[in-house]
Each structure stands twice: as structure tokens, then as C-alpha cells.
């Protein structure tokens, strides 16, 4: 493949940008700027880590689910999230990194995952609220990624988004059963909305004015809409759903603005966001310790699988000889 190098970096860069601007897909073998590759590795890895860490808060309710139907739905959902992690690590691997390396970055705190998973799930309604709000916010973020310029990521997102929208509907349905249920269930539902609303809005990331990398990601076709645009879409879609459930969104400044046709909402507590980001949210330590613990507890199993595979390869070679 050496002759390709006759093109100068400038020319390659121009061809790359033209392809992106024309809404073309960049594939693993195509030339890409190093910054693009690095940005994608980081973003896809953090997305994969979020799927894997995200199994914990809901997985926590599997053994206590209040009906067998809900238990099965929840098991299937948590299983889907593990699957999303797998697709995403595979997509990252097309960029020349491997899963072990990325997991190590997660385990040592050098790569992050979504701040939303650093909040505790203290009641059953949290499972419903996560499906409704967190998967709902994830969809807003991820649907545009199905058109992202990097082919393997875009294709992974198509499959992930289908399942996330299923999770969102199941979550909303579970929430509506609680909202129409006994007084204790209604209280549970409102309490969950109270605790998950603001962290869900934070899932869209910092406000556009404080989002330094956004412009570059937009130019590269990795990002299609700004954080604030996506957040607004989420609020516009979700507030009427909360009203339909008869639940109160915990924002005294929330009101429908006739002039803009959008909901205006109160100021996000960016100090809280920064605190959780920095590692000092309610569950950062717990989530990471659990993840690292599972990985370390499983080391002997992975070593055994590798040792067995090596023995088998040796046996095969001897038989062939």
C-alpha cells in the first residue's frame, strides 16, 4: 500500500473533509486525521463504558423486580446494554485499539462514562425512570450518530438506537403503571422523577458556550446538533409525557413559551455536574469499584480460557505434524 503515500497530507486532509462534507462514510481503511481518530476512540470508548457501567444501577433491581414480567423485561434490558457495550468496543477496535486497553483506561479512571450512572437506584420506580428518561435522552443523543461520518460507529448506532427506543417505551409504560397505581406507587414515581430529571438534562453535556470541542466534532461529522439543541428537544418531548402521567417536573421555571414553541426551563446546576464529572458524585467510587472487582474476580476465568485455547492449538499442531 506504500504508493498511496505519494499524496501529501494536505491533499489527504482535503479529500477526507470533502468526503465528510458530502455526507460520505469514512471506513477503517480510509485515511483520517489523527485528531479525528483520537476523538472517535475517546467518544466510542466512553460510550461503550457507559453501556457497561449502566448495567449496574438497573441490574441492582433484577432480583427484586415486583413481577415476573417486569423481571424478564429488566433482565433483557440489562442484557441489551451488555450487547451495546460489545458492539461499541468492536467499533472502537476498528480504529486500532483493543478492548483490554480501553477497559484498563476505564478501570484506572483515565476514561470516563456518562455521569448519569453515578446516581443511586433506591426504588423500583428508578428502573422505570431510567428507561423513560435516561434511555430517552440517550436516543436524542444517539439518533444523529446513526448518520455519523465514521461508518462502523454509525452502523453500531443503528442497532443500538432500535433497542434504546424499545427501552424508552418500556420505561414509560412501567412509569405510567406506577403513576396510576396506589398512593405509595405514585409517590415512588414522583420521587424518581424528582431525582432523575436534572441528571438526565445533564446527559447532554455542558452548555454550548462551554463546550470547546463541539465545533471540531461538527466539522468532522461526528456531531450533528449542539448539546443545547439536543437538550431542548428532549425537554420538548418529555415534559408533555410527564404531564400525561400526572407527574410534576421538578423545575419551578418550566413553562411553555408560545413565541418560540419550546419549553423554557430553569438553570442546570453546573456545579453538581462538575462534581460528578470529577468523580465525586454519589456513586462514582461504588460503580468503578464494582466494575474493577468483577474484572479482577474474573481474571482466573479469562486466563483459563486463554490457557485452554493455547493447549488446543498445541494439540492441533501436534496432530497436524
Amino acid at each position: 500500500m506504500a504508493p498511496v503515500q505519494t499524496q501529501s497530507t494536505d491533499e489527504l486532509e482535503r479529500a477526507f473533509q470533502d468526503a465528510v462534507d458530502a455526507d460520505g462514510r469514512i471506513e477503517p481503511r480510509d485515511w483520517m486525521p489523527e485528531g479525528y481518530r483520537r476523538t472517535l476512540v475517546r467518544q466510542i470508548a466512553q460510550h461503550a463504558h457507559s453501556e457497561i457501567i449502566g448495567m449496574q444501577p438497573e441490574g441492582n433491581w433484577i432480583t427484586r423486580a415486583p413481577s415476573l414480567r417486569r423481571k424478564c423485561i429488566l433482565v433483557a434490558k440489562v442484557q441489551d446494554e451488555a450487547g451495546h457495550g460489545l458492539y461499541l468496543y468492536s467499533a472502537a477496535e476498528t480504529l486500532g485499539v483493543d478492548r483490554e486497553e480501553l477497559l484498563d483506561l476505564l478501570h484506572t479512571g483515565r476514561q470516563k462514562y456518562s455521569t448519569i450512572f453515578n446516581y443511586p437506584t433506591t426504588s423500583w420506580a428508578d428502573v422505570a425512570a431510567i428507561g423513560w428518561l435516561v434511555d430517552g435522552a440517550a436516543i436524542m443523543n444517539q439518533v444523529p450518530l446513526t448518520r455519523c461520518s465514521y461508518g462502523p460507529y454509525a452502523r453500531a448506532m443503528v442497532r443500538v438506537c432500535k433497542e434504546e427506543s424499545f427501552h424508552q417505551r418500556q420505561g414509560f409504560e412501567a412509569m405510567s403503571v406506577l403513576a396510576q397505581g396506589t398512593p405509595a406507587q405514585r409517590r415512588m414515581a414522583q420521587d424518581a422523577l424528582d431525582r432523575w430529571w436534572w441528571p438526565s438534562l445533564m446527559m447532554f453535556g455542558p452548555s454550548d458556550t462551554d463546550s470547546p470541542n463541539s465545533a471540531r466534532s461538527m466539522a468532522w461529522g461526528i456531531k450533528r446538533f449542539s448539546n443545547d439543541e439536543l437538550r431542548q428537544r428532549f425537554v420538548d418531548a418529555t415534559v408533555p409525557q410527564a404531564e400525561h402521567l400526572g407527574l410534576t417536573v421538578p423545575d419551578p421555571d418550566l413553562r411553555f413559551d408560545e413565541a418560540t414553541g419550546h419549553y423554557a426551563f430553569g438553570e442546570i446546576d453546573w456545579t453538581e455536574f462538575a462534581t460528578v464529572m470529577r468523580g465525586d458524585g454519589p456513586c462514582n467510587r461504588e460503580r468503578l469499584a464494582h466494575r474493577v472487582g468483577a474484572h479482577e474476580d474474573g481474571a482466573w476465568v479469562r486466563e483459563a480460557a486463554a490457557a485452554y485455547a493455547a493447549k488446543q492449538a498445541g494439540r492441533g499442531a501436534r496432530e497436524a505434524a
Binding site: M55, T63, R64, P66, V75, A299, W300, A305
Partner: protein, 265 residues
């Protein structure tokens, strides 16, 4: 879920009790498997173990629903649902085998137990596919493919762990030694099984044990594991006498449901 026949189902306490045994085995094993969520050795195993859990829970739902109908209405005229049976029965009314309620322990013990249970469920469901009870036959016909996958999965792990490293060999042998004695309860005969064998509803435990022995011996040999020699045969699950850990499993399973009597979920 397998659709259940809606007509021709009168009260039949024997078949109900048998369906409950099968359903309780599946539900309790599903609960134990699901405990692996987000803590398995690799992400592929989270997917696989949760898949196994879902298969067991799915079969459990059909079997408990079936049992509830066969039990007939209670004193208030209420036909017990799958959730009534799963969440509102006390410990002495659970008739699962002790093997499925044991704590999963480490991955070696979990896989040793999966091997012993799957090597039983494969011939069991194959035989029950032609049970004279349509409801049981329907569940078994669907589940037989799922438990075949489960047996393949367990076999491949037990072999890899047994013939992997010294540590994995030691751990899976220890796990096997711990769960092994509990397997024999699966093949016990009692008056209920006798009556249902006569009616062509139940599977013959002796025939299943034979197939189980053949499968297990073959896998353990390939895994370079030793067949445990103990003659201890703990039993009691089928008549509601359980191990200490089972109370904790039920507490976790039932707490939320019982905290909100009559609520819908």
C-alpha cells in the same frame, strides 16, 4: 411464553404439583443466574448468563401460570397467577430441588451447577415434550432447545476451566465437589411421580438419570475433573424443606411485591 390451552383444564392437583416443581426449579435457577448481571468475568458472559436466566424465567412463567389454573380457584374464587405463586408463597410451599437454590459461588461453581442442571433438563424436557399434559408438553417442547444451548455453554466452560490453568482446575473441581451431592435429588421418585408416570404426564427419573450420568461423565473426563466420591445425598426440596440460603433468596425475590399488597406493576 408458550400459549396454554384455554379449555379442558379442570382442577388437577397432581399435575399442578408437578408443574410447580418444574416451575420452581426454573424460577429459582433463573434468579440465581440473574445475580451475575454486571459481575461476570467478561461482557460476553454477561450476555450469555442473562440469556440463560431469561430462558429459565420464561419457562417458569408458563409453568406457574399453568399450575395456577390446575390448582383451581382458592377460597375467594381467585385463580392464582404466576405472580401469586412466585411472590406470595412461603418457603415450605416451594418445591424446587435444593441444587438450584444453592448460592452460585464463583464462576467455577456456577458452571459446575449449570452442567449438572442442564444435563438433567435436556433429557427431562425431551421426555416431557410428549407428556400427556398439553401444558407441560408445550413448555417442554419450547424449552428443550434452550436447555440444549445451556448444556453446550456449560460443557464448554467446564472443559475450559478443568483443562485450563491449575487455579481454574482447582476452583471448578471445588465447585463441582460442593454441588455434586445435591444432583441426586433430581432423580428421586415419590408417590406423586409414580402416579403421574402411570398417567403419562411425568418423565421417568431413572431413564433421565441414565442419560445424565452419560453426559456428565463424558464432560468431566474431557475436563480432566474427578467425579466426586461422596455418598452424601441431601434432599428435601420437593417437600418444602430447604437450605438456609433459600430464605434470603425468597426475601429478595418477594420483598417489594409483598410490600404493596394488591398493587399492579
Amino acid at each position: 411464553m408458550t400459549p396454554l390451552p384455554t379449555s379442558g383444564l379442570g382442577v388437577d392437583l397432581d399435575v399442578a404439583a408437578y408443574a410447580l416443581r418444574l416451575g420452581d426449579d426454573a424460577l429459582v435457577l433463573g434468579q440465581r443466574l440473574a445475580e451475575w448481571a454486571a459481575r461476570s468475568p467478561q461482557i460476553e458472559e454477561d450476555v450469555a448468563l442473562l440469556n440463560l436466566a431469561l430462558d429459565q424465567l420464561g419457562a417458569a412463567r408458563s409453568l406457574l401460570t399453568h399450575a395456577g389454573r390446575l390448582l383451581g380457584p382458592d377460597a375467594d374464587g381467585h385463580v392464582r397467577t404466576e405472580d401469586d405463586l412466585a411472590f406470595l408463597r412461603d418457603e415450605p410451599d416451594w418445591t424446587n430441588a435444593l441444587l438450584v437454590e444453592l448460592d452460585g459461588g464463583d464462576f467455577g461453581r456456577t458452571m459446575a451447577r449449570q452442567l449438572l442442571v442442564s444435563a438433567y433438563q435436556v433429557p427431562l424436557y425431551a421426555a416431557l415434550g410428549s407428556s400427556a399434559d398439553e401444558g407441560i408438553a408445550g413448555v417442554a417442547g419450547k424449552a428443550v432447545k434452550e436447555v440444549a444451548y445451556s448444556l453446550d455453554h456449560a460443557r464448554s466452560w467446564v472443559v475450559r476451566l478443568g483443562d485450563g490453568t491449575d487455579e481454574s482446575h482447582r476452583r471448578v473441581q471445588t465447585g463441582l465437589d460442593e454441588v455434586w451431592p445435591y444432583a441426586f435429588e433430581l432423580f428421586e421418585r415419590d408417590p406423586l411421580v409414580d402416579r403421574l408416570l402411570e398417567r403419562g404426564v411425568a418423565a421417568d427419573p431413572a431413564a433421565i438419570e441414565q442419560q445424565w450420568q452419560a453426559t456428565v461423565q463424558e464432560v468431566l473426563a474431557e475436563a480432566t475433573l474427578t467425579v466426586p466420591e461422596t455418598t452424601w445425598r441431601p434432599t428435601g426440596g420437593r417437600r418444602g424443606a430447604h437450605t438456609t440460603g433459600f430464605g434470603y433468596l425468597l426475601a429478595e425475590l418477594q420483598h417489594l411485591h409483598r410490600s404493596h399488597p394488591g398493587a399492579r406493576w
